[in-house]
Symmetry: C2
Subunit: 341 residues, 2 copies
DNA sequence: CTGAAAGCGCTTACAG
DNA sequence: CTGAAAGCGCTTACAG
């Protein structure tokens, strides 16, 4: 393989000159620069990444720690990965993807061996066991998801509290008085999925302050079980006129459930979910929803991470905790309840 | 950060001795070995990946070239990525993930800079423009998907021809005489998605040789359009009693379509798809299907790639083209046609 | 504006 | 069984 020595020789200059001509890090006469560039092109020169990393302590690689959890809905996960991967590429970084079930172990190995310049953590739990490792690492880290303790990392997440409020307020404004909220399974909470109760608690409070009845329940994340649960739920609360879904699997199952009950939204039931527009299209979901913005969150995390890596923001600059405001995407699945139109 | 010199000093030996003690590549007295290992552990030593790569020309990283195409069904893609990522980890390799729309460019950059020891190509087209780049690269490559020309790479794919035959034969054996096959969109073929016509041609031939009527059609890959297309299709061929789906979006949309028509499988229509069991569970699809085995294919590709990387198979050893035999997973969606039970 | 040299942190022949 | 040294391919102070 051709190295910088070959390029230098072909251009008739020293290796250091070839390096500077290529990087542009110091003034070079036009003539020499052209000769070096031509030689590099003709020989098909690409710098050796390992050597460069060794010399500069920079790899231009970002570590992406994802976890494919059996109780998470995989298609929803993919969009975060895409957002991170795409924006990393735009910023000139490659992605080292780890889905090792041993998150702390994989993270420590990747950071200690200096394979990456920074880390993006997906699927962050309230007391995420990867966080101590990340804080001890020399590289900066950005999270998608809100942990209990945000010190030492930049954090990005959907504003789940506000999402819960928006859902309730939207249906309240239309005249609904009895609602059901289907959240993720309970073991997602046990694992530290704080977004579940963040949305739920806010929804409960918003409902209480408006004198609404709100039934809360944890749905399964598996098909076809969640379908049966939805049937049971609608049977149990025949008076409820509004359904809130903070559970992707429930949203994906609902169209079939409604068909089976010969019901439709919004005629018989107003429905508001919480998922991305991409998700809605993939599953052909006709329900209005709070946009969960996975691509945007991934993009924000990478941007801030790159700023830290490239010292565009000082290491002492305070870390940010930034929430994306929920936006209700109207797909026409809500209306005033029956008898109130 | 602690390096091998620190470990050697702490253990009171030379750096070379520390290196050998850690790698076990030559005989070391028990006492020295223990001292070195203890020092490494106490200091928290992890070798610098760039330095090691520079010295050994091995990175222990595999490049994974995926493409998120707008006309591909994203959830199906994720499973291939998971299969590759998981088995790479099991073999002791990390994954560098690229989803750059400029496949050849990204591939060339990654291979030329020696960031990876080998390459896995996903989503391979008949005349894939990444293949010339891969063949010119010094690293071995493994593909998931069959290109027209397989020279210089190891290839793994589902046996789509046999899949088409199995689908037709299965329904023929049950007594069906008129079938419909819904394939992927036409532009998937134009882009080089050979699996579309590989399955279709084989199905057409199998049907012809048995005197069956087989209507073939290209379905869209978007919701809700594919749903409307399915309705139109079933309207157009009221005599057809069997439906074959080589189109994930169509499979995902079919339950709703059947509900809307007050039809069910297998009572009114026998249905056979081609997708993974994981996919069936995610979308709660009740249709029997040819298992597309994305995890298994990803695993096979990585295994063979690792064998080449680690020279367990000589560089001259002939490259393999291996097909996974289709297995029909019975979910009870096929039966003899109406009036023949 | 350009070059000779040191150094990044490893591994591995070469000596003993 | 162990050590001193060279070398992998870069970048970047240091000199001129």
């Amino acid at each position: 393989m051709v190295n910088i020595g070959d390029v230098a020789r072909a251009a008739g200059v020293a290796r250091s000159t070839a390096s500077y001509a290529l990087s542009g890090k110091r003034a070079i006469s036009d003539e020499v620069r052209d000769r070096v560039h031509r030689a590099a092109r003709e020989l098909g020169y690409t710098p050796n990444a390992g050597a460069r990393a060794l010399a500069t302590s920079q790899t231009r690689v970002i570590g992406l720690l994802a976890q494919f959890l059996p109780d998470e809905f995989a298609p929803a996960m993919l969009q975060y990965i895409q957002g991170v991967t795409d924006s990393a590429r735009d910023a000139g970084y490659d992605i080292l993807l780890s889905s090792d079930p041993d998150g702390p172990g994989a993270l420590g190995r990747i950071t200690d061996s200096r394979m990456v310049d920074g880390i993006v953590l997906l699927n962050v739990a309230a007391d995420d066991d990867r966080l101590p490792v990340l804080r001890a690492a020399p590289q900066p880290g950005a999270l998608v998801g809100l942990p209990r303790d945000c010190t030492g990392v930049d954090v990005f997440d959907l504003d789940f509290e506000e999402s819960g409020r928006v859902m309730v307020e939207h249906l309240h404004a239309l005249g609904h008085r009895e609602l059901i909220l289907v959240s993720q399974p309970e073991h997602v909470i046990e694992r530290g999925g704080a977004y579940v109760w963040r949305l739920q608690d806010a929804a409960v409070e918003a409902a209480a302050s408006r004198g609404l009845t709100l039934h809360t329940v944890h749905g399964s994340s598996e098909q076809p079980r969640i379908g049966r649960e939805l049937h049971a739920l609608l049977d149990a609360h025949p008076e409820a006129t509004g359904l809130l879904l903070n559970n992707e699997a429930a949203a994906a199952a609902l169209p079939t459930v409604l068909h089976e009950r010969h019901r439709s939204a919004p005629a018989d039931l107003s429905v508001v979910g919480r998922y991305s527009d991409e998700f809605a299209r993939t599953f052909s979901l006709p329900f209005s929803s709070i946009e969960s913005a996975p691509d945007r969150l991934g993009r924000m995390a990478v941007r801030q991470l790159v700023r830290r890596i490239e010292k565009q923001v000082s290491a002492e600059a305070p870390h940010v905790v930034r929430f994306v405001s929920p936006e209700l995407v109207d797909r026409g699945s809500t209306a005033p309840p029956l008898g109130q139109q």
